[in-house]
Symmetry: C2
């Protein structure tokens, strides 16, 4: 069908909703602490489902806790054009990571409703469950289970640090949304667009408003357990210690050397590191840590990642070490034609824009495997993200939502 006039989004409504959503799990320092399927996250789903209901849109929930808001198209036999992101945050995280993409998606549906714009394809907004992986490992699990990459039952059996299963938490979400319609996993899309803050400094530095995301770097994640022997810190001489902290820090420092690159493209992070028993006067018999390694090149991912296990083994001293690769994802390239649609929409609205690589993982990684997908980035203050100080400007939020609305509308009107 012919592309209709592209309606303007409602910037005031969008910003108010941003504020309302950011209030759920708000921290004193201006961030958000909203773990996947926590009471705060369930409240976020209820809030957004309420907006959908007020606009006459239907809400669906699937077995892994993804929520869908649906606007019918002219041809109900066609696959939907979807947009969305996630409402869970890091503990604590910021106001925009995830929330922005969800707000742009629902604003798109509302704008089409307000304008009475008819599309050929159905249009949907999605909240993917447990993107951050901060509560249940691995992350991106809602989208991963939806596209069939993760096993549903295994994901539902995942436990958080307190022993609760994702199954129990999804049941809580279902209870909180009694009128949501059940949706099967894997219902295919005709396209997927995800808006997100850049989480880096490139757009801020260039002064561009819109990043047309070309693809996503790949990653490999590792779990390392070092076992030594608890001993008395006052009596046990160094030569007789099996100090797991010493071995683990030797590993961490040696790994840092191997992963050092002049170009500063390698992303190597040890974000979780625990020592047991963790008493001040006990030589620690146990240390455990996680490596998050990301790079745009599949070759580098293999070359460096494969060195982790042998290096840890060399540095273990008198301790034992077990290295497990817990997840990996290959680098992703988004289809050129969807990138082109985003660039054209930005040009048409007069938003300066540029091509950009996503250094973070997003749900669009999984969607890219089953439908033409792409991402829209907006600038983020100082590149600060996964941090309570994460900020984006209102005018950039408006621009991002407008581009999502325009691109989704254009794609939803294509035969």
């Amino acid at each position: 069908m012919q592309i209709p006039d592209l309606p303007k989004i409602n910037s005031d409504r969008l910003w108010q909703r941003h504020l309302d959503l950011a209030a759920l799990g708000a921290t004193k320092a201006g961030g958000v602490h909203r773990l996947a399927l926590s009471p705060e996250d369930i409240a976020a789903h209820v809030l957004i489902a309420g907006w959908a209901g007020e606009s006459g849109l239907t809400v669906q929930l699937d077995a892994i806790g993804n929520m869908f808001i649906c606007r019918p198209g002219h041809d109900p036999s066609l696959r939907a054009i979807a947009s969305g992101s996630h409402t869970d945050t890091q503990p604590p995280g910021g106001q925009f990571d995830g929330s922005l993409g969800v707000l742009c998606a629902i604003e798109t549906l509302e704008t089409l409703q307000d304008a009475g714009t008819e599309t050929l394809h159905p249009v949907e907004a999605v909240i993917w469950n447990n993107e951050e992986g901060a509560r249940f490992m691995p992350g991106l699990s809602g989208s991963g289970a939806y596209v069939g990459k993760y096993d549903l039952e295994a994901m539902l059996d995942c436990r958080d640090d307190t022993g609760l299963t994702m199954r129990d938490c999804v049941a809580e979400l279902q209870k909180a949304l009694p009128s949501a319609v059940h949706r099967e996993l894997g219902v295919p899309f005709a396209g997927f667009i995800e808006a997100h803050i850049e989480q880096d400094l490139i757009l801020e530095a260039s002064g561009n408003t819109i990043g047309v995301v070309t693809g996503m770097q790949g990653n490999r994640r590792f779990h390392i357990i070092v076992t030594g022997e608890n001993a008395h810190s006052g009596t046990t001489p160094r030569s007789r210690r099996k100090d797991a902290f010493v071995a683990a820090t030797d590993m961490a420092v040696a790994l840092r050397d191997i992963f050092w690159d002049e170009e500063d493209v390698v992303r190597f992070t040890i974000g979780k590191f625990e020592v047991g028993p963790g008493a001040k006067s006990v030589v620690p018999g146990r240390a455990e840590f996680f490596i998050d390694f990301r790079h745009p090149s599949a070759e580098i991912l293999k070359l460096l990642g494969d060195q982790i296990e042998p290096l840890c083994d060399r540095m273990k001293g008198p301790c034992q070490v077990v290295v497990e690769e817990i997840s990996s994802a290959a680098p992703v390239a988004f289809p050129a034609e969807v990138q082109q649609s985003i660039k054209q929409a930005a040009d048409a609205r007069g938003y300066p824009n540029q091509a950009i690589l996503s250094c973070a993982g997003h749900d669009a990684r999984h969607l890219a495997e089953v439908c033409p997908s792409a991402m829209v980035f907006i600038p983020c203050w100082k590149g600060i993200s996964h941090n309570e100080a994460e900020r984006a400007e209102r005018k950039h939020v408006t621009a991002g939502a407008q581009i999502v609305c325009d691109v989704v509308t254009i794609l939803a009107c294509k035969d």
Copy 2:
């Protein structure tokens, strides 16, 4: 008065009581998890008070939660000869650390009761509260408050990791022992003897049964807080990170170099090390750790300990660091005449013995400041302590208790 015949302790009773005490907080691996004033530790006090009651001995409690079992002497105006140790353990710890000294002390009183032996001085058995410092910081706080070294109110205001104050926990102990008589802090002693497992390999290697402890190494303890900035692990380049884990591990490794000594006399331990927020995909903005440094030489304690703060400052990279010295103790030398009494008692019983330095801190450190004090060591399997595998042989436990009983009796009969 003349030294009476020295009665023999009851080895069967002693070992049975060891088993009964080790059952309180017993772990599957054969250790004990009995934090100070936990329900298990209070049960230990109730058990021991019950033994005292059955033998007609009185029980006293002071304001910091130390428990005293008292046997009157011929001259009630004289100060008591005391013996004892502690019932709290590391989380988890072993069956003997602390418990041995308490069991030897109560066995001494029981033996004197059974034999009807009269002493000039009163004789007391003491359970010092919170020796390990694993629940409330600092450790040795029961004996420290008793001798006036620690402020009572400050110690009672200490909180454990769950926010409970020591004040609340002492009240629980008092509730569990309603017939215990109130005792003032600081009631002076004429002498103090503490039996303990050696927590090292020296006696095992030499084949000696009794260690006549000459003194105790000193210690300095530090708390280091490193503050960086939480950031996204996928997007934030190395050059822009303020990674508190990186800075803290650089400090830990550099400190280890400075504290390395060829002779292996330095005891340098980082036993508690925590990273925040501790999420796998967040560059950590916070790291915190504790240094436990011990040495027999006051000069070395000063020389090396004073290097910690400047070194941490040099290694902090883009982060901030705060170094606080949280406690210190000078090396202790026990009086030669009390050492001599122990040696003579061991010789008289035919126990091979040797002079030995205590590498661990014990309550006797504080008592040594207010009365003639000393310690009796027995061998400990492979030197393993602060560990569930901690073991001592029954024959060595018997020997230790016999020497405590003999020495306490001799001291308690001196004018």
